[in-house]
Each structure stands twice: as structure tokens, then as C-alpha cells.
Symmetry: C2
Subunit: 357 residues, 2 copies
């Protein structure tokens, strides 16, 4: 018998967060274990979110941020109080935790796939659905634009107030995310649509256009087109089949992906990944939906979006077969969903069983 030193297991930070966050994350981890093995990863839970802030006044202490920088991936449930809540200042947790992590860990690819699973209820008409399969992905820039936190108010609180928000766009920032979109398109149906509003936002739009055109020239196999963000709205409900990869800025991406989620069956199903493709910092995986305080604690939240985000996590960690197993299990589960309500953990159990079986 020889002494063996076990290879260190990758560490995954688990931030349940607020509202339904912890409930859906528990199911995500359940399915992750079913796919990768119970001992594949070390899981470290982090207690962050509204409850901690109310108890301690801390959102994301520097020491915790430093610790998180060393993990291999982060799972995030949801953060944030209900809009209109007065207990927590608007956006405090979103900016202090979620956006802070996206920016600190340079998650410049905010990846949001949208696929209409067979059998899923969509708000789109039969005629639109009959046009063909809906399967596209949005590559949303994650570290610039109007999310930069640049802006301010003059004469705040008075009738003379002027409040500004600045969208900051850099050539480097646009270049790296557009390139990522083209790389993804090469592994898909080889089409990239740039969405912007360059007829009005001439500076930012001009930059996006220029870089997009430059990179497109390097991918002669990829078809490209351009849509204004307003026209994109129309296409997403009239002809979503036209999209393969959409690349766009941070705010347009935020808006587009909620509509994309809605037309493909709702944000209960929409997965997302905040990726740092360089590996310099851990990437973060989270459902598109929020903390949904209205249904928290009842065990009725749909964990599917979080579970699908686990497939993105496995893919990112170089485990495509396990990722595919989760995707197949989700496909199969979703396809046979009737109207009978299942609890959060029943859905997690069912998908975990399919992954294992």
C-alpha cells in the first residue's frame, strides 16, 4: 500500500442570497453532485445578502471578496429586496454584492442562452412557435456601459436637480466580448447579431460598430447583421428563430435577456453565467431571475434556471460530458411537465434522478 495524496478538489463558493435564492441553489447543488459526483468539488457556503446586511451592516467585506477570488467557481442564488421595499435601500445589495462580484472578477462575458423546450408554455402564438426551433444565446457585456457606476447628481433633492448616468465603453472591453461572441458562434450556427442604437448613441454605437466590423473580418465563416435595440424587441417576439448569437452592451443585454427568457418559457428556466474567460478570477453562475420575495420560503420556486446554470458551470470547468448530462435531464424533465405543481425540491430530485439514472 502506497501513500496517495489526493489532488486538491476544486472549490465552489455557494451564495444562496435572498428570497428564493437559497431554495433554488440547494437544488442546483443537488443536481451538480448527481452529475459530477458527491466528492468532485468542495462546497463552501457564504452567508451574504439582505439578512446579513440587516444584522451586521456588511454587504461584501473585503476579506470575503479576497477569499472568493481564490475559489474555482461561484454559485449565486439571488440578491435583493422587493422593489419598493423600504427595509433595504434600493439597489444596495445588487450593486454591493452582485455587480461588485461581476466587476471585481472581471466577468466580461455575461452569457444567457435561450431555448424554447418542447412542451413549454410560451406567451408566443402557435404561429410564431411553428416557424421553427428557438435557440439562441445572448453574450451580454458585463463590466462596462451604464453599469460602470459613473454619474452623479447636482442639487440632489431639489427642483434644480440634474442627475447624470454615464455609459463608458472601451475598445478593449468591446473587443474582448465581441471576440467571445464570434468564438461561440463558430461552435453554433455561425451567425452573430450586434444589437445597439448607433443612430442615437453615436459615440458608443460607433465604437461597437467599428470593433464588430473589424472582428467580423477575421471570421469569414460567420454571418453577421445589426439591429437597433428597439427593432430587436420586435424580432424577439415575431421571429426569434432569426437569432443565433446576439452580442450587446450591458444594459441592452439586461433588457433583451429578460424578454428572451419570457418568450422561451419564463425566467423560471433562464440560466446565466458570468464568465471571466481568462481564468484570472472565478466565474459565477446564477439564474437570470431575482429573489422573488413574494414566493420565498414556500418551496414553490422553480429551480430549473439554477440547475441549468450548473451545466454552464461544468462546461466552464472543463466537464462537458457532465454538463450535457444535466442539459439532457432538464430537457427531459421540462418536456414532460404537466400542469401538476411540484415543489422546488421535487423538481430538483426529479432532475437529479435523471442525471444519475
Amino acid at each position: 500500500m502506497t501513500d496517495t495524496v489526493a489532488a486538491p478538489r476544486p472549490t465552489i463558493a455557494v451564495i444562496g442570497g435572498d428570497g428564493i435564492g437559497p431554495e433554488v441553489v440547494a437544488e442546483g447543488v443537488k443536481v451538480l453532485k448527481a452529475a459530477a459526483g458527491a466528492d468532485a468539488f468542495e462546497y463552501v457556503a457564504y452567508d451574504l445578502g439582505a439578512e446579513r446586511w440587516q444584522r451586521t451592516g456588511e454587504v461584501l467585506p473585503d476579506s470575503v471578496l479576497a477569499e472568493l477570488a481564490g475559489v474555482d467557481a461561484i454559485i449565486l442564488g439571488a440578491v435583493g429586496a422587493a422593489p419598493g421595499s423600504t427595509a433595504i435601500p434600493s439597489g444596495l445589495l445588487e450593486r454591493g454584492l452582485l455587480l461588485k462580484l461581476r466587476f471585481a472578477f472581471d466577468h466580461y462575458v455575461n452569457l444567457r442562452p435561450s431555448k424554447l423546450y418542447p412542451g413549454v408554455v410560451t406567451p408566443l402564438s402557435d404561429a410564431v412557435v411553428a416557424r421553427g426551433p428557438i435557440d439562441f444565446t445572448v453574450v451580454r457585456e458585463g463590466t462596462e456601459g451604464l453599469y460602470a457606476g459613473v454619474g452623479g447628481s447636482l442639487a440632489r433633492g431639489t427642483s434644480a436637480e440634474v442627475a447624470n448616468e454615464v455609459s463608458v465603453n472601451t475598445a478593449r472591453g468591446v473587443e474582448r466580448v465581441v471576440r467571445d461572441a464570434f468564438e461561440r458562434a463558430m461552435r453554433r450556427r455561425k451567425k452573430v447579431t450586434l444589437v445597439h442604437k448607433h443612430n442615437v448613441l453615436v459615440n458608443a454605437g460607433g465604437l461597437w460598430n467599428r470593433i464588430f466590423t473589424e472582428i467580423a473580418a477575421q471570421y469569414p465563416d460567420v454571418t453577421t447583421d445589426y439591429l437597433h435595440v428597439d427593432a430587436t424587441m420586435i424580432m424577439l417576439v415575431q421571429d426569434p428563430q432569426r437569432f443565433d448569437v446576439i452580442v450587446t452592451d450591458n444594459l441592452f443585454g439586461d433588457i433583451i435577456t429578460d424578454l428572451a427568457a419570457a418568450v422561451t418559457g419564463g425566467i423560471g428556466l433562464a440560466a446565466s453565467a458570468n464568465i471571466n474567460p481568462t481564468g484570472a478570477f472565478p466565474s459565477m453562475f446564477e439564474p437570470v431571475h431575482g429573489s422573488a420575495p413574494d414566493i420565498a420560503g414556500q418551496g414553490i420556486a422553480d429551480p430549473t434556471a439554477t440547475i441549468s446554470s450548473m451545466a454552464l458551470l461544468l462546461d466552464h470547468l472543463g466537464r462537458p460530458a457532465e454538463a450535457a448530462a444535466i442539459e439532457r435531464a432538464v430537457d427531459a424533465d421540462v418536456a414532460q411537465r404537466g400542469t401538476a405543481a411540484r415543489s422546488t425540491s421535487q423538481i430538483g430530485d426529479a432532475i437529479a434522478a435523471r442525471v444519475a439514472g
Copy 2:
């Protein structure tokens, strides 16, 4: 016999513009004459748009702007080249003509009603449509925000480029449009939804929130709520019935109203008014759709959106009965539309006949 001096007739400036613009405007004027009488207004045609720019290099000469300032209302078809066209710099006409007029004439209420007419094909499912009538209006701020033209680029054209766009929001600008929205709600179903993204855009969002709350207190009969712009996307396709009046900023309004148009049967039907409620400058009436160069010159564009905009024009000029006559005629025409294609002028004729008859 006494000498009578005819009261001067109100003057309406007619800017057909580009692409399908002149075609749909001709039908709008036809129906306007049917409703108000052939001699009710004096019509003055203005030759502005891509063709003039290509011929003369002029977009909107100061002398023309000064003349337009003196008319009673403006009808605008559409301006702008096809996206991706290289003949005309991107946005030149949009900014130099359309936005120039909105800003010069202080059109701070960009009004965009959305109504799903019975019988109209919508991309929404039967289940969503069955929830009830869809009938809401968006009050889009028209003179501030990211449309202010504030921004710029550093190191333009290089790999070090930084391109900024600034959203400028003033208390005065927000106050006047929010108040207008509440006034409209009082004449409708008494509900106003503020749409913004105040969890991220804290400065602008904070200002909008504060003013909205202040004004809401003055309208105790009006129910209010707030939605983030991303969540609004979901509601517009899952539950558009929840909306009565939406008030929002310039860019969010641009995005929302294209989606609103799409879910209520397409931009072929979506009317809009750029209103200066003070009367200091003429208001401007235009379809939401663009110049659609791909179908221009074929007589197949749907003029309904322009015709409905004429109802908004008559309303604005204090002729509600004539406005209602156009609305009824459009309702009736749209309700009996089958799949048989009619030409642009056939649709105009049919609606004009209903107005007259």
C-alpha cells in the same frame, strides 16, 4: 352682403421624408381631410430627408426650422436610410431632422398608445390574449436622457478608444412629463406605472423615483406602481393587460414602445405624437415605424399607424369628435381585415370612406 374675413386656417406642415414616409403620409392627409373637411387646414409640404440631403447636403436648414416653428402641427412620415446603408451616415437624418425637431420644439411628451384591436394578428398566444383587453399608453420623455447628445470619444478609432454617452435628467424635465402621465391616467383607468432601472442607475433612477412619488401624492385617485425595465419586458408579453399608463425615460420608452407595438399587432398600426403641451411650439405626429426602404415605392406599406396619428393630431388641435371618428373608422377597418392584401391607398380610401360615411 357683408364682407367677411375668413378666420385664418390652421397650418399643417407635411414632411413625407424617406422610404415609405411619403406614401403613408398621403393616406394620413386623405383621412384627415375626410374627418375635418378638405378646407379645415392649410397644408404645406416640406421636402426634407435623405433625398434632399443627397442633393443639397442640407438636413434641416435654420430657415426651414424657423418656418416650422410657426405652423400649428407637423405630420412626419419617416426619415432615415436602411441600417447598414453606406450612402448616408448612420443616424444623420434621425438626429438632424427627427430628433432636432423633437428637441427644438420641446416635445417632452412622446405619446404612444397601444391597443390590441379585435381581429388583429398578434405574436402573443391565445392564452395571453384571453386575459382581457390590451389597451395602454406609454408617455415617453422626449427631450432628455441618453438622447441629449451629450458624450464623446477619446482616442477615437484606436485600440485605446473610450466612448461615453451621458444620460441627462433634470427635475424640471422629469416633473413635467410625469405630471402629464398622471393627467392622462385621470382620463383613463387611473393607473400609472413608472419604468426605470433604479437599482443600477441610482442617480437618474433616484430622481425619477422622487419626482414620481411627489406627484403621485397629488393624485390620490391614481394607483401607482414601479417596474424595472427588464421586468417590464416580461410583463409586456405575459400580462400586458396590467398596464394603463406607463411613464418612462427617452431610451426605455423607445425600447418599450416597439415591443408594445409588436404585441398589439405590429408597428404597422402604432401611432405616436410628439407633444409640446404648452403650445409654445407645434406638436408633431408620426407613425412609430421607420422608413422601411425595403418596401418603399411599392404601394404596399400599411398607412394605418399614420392615420391613427391623425386622430392624435385632431385631439391635440381641440377637435375630439373628429379624432373619435378616425378612431372608430380605424377600429372598424382593422376588425374586418382578412388576409387579402390591400395597397397603401386602398387602406387609406377604405378608412376615409368610413370616416365620411
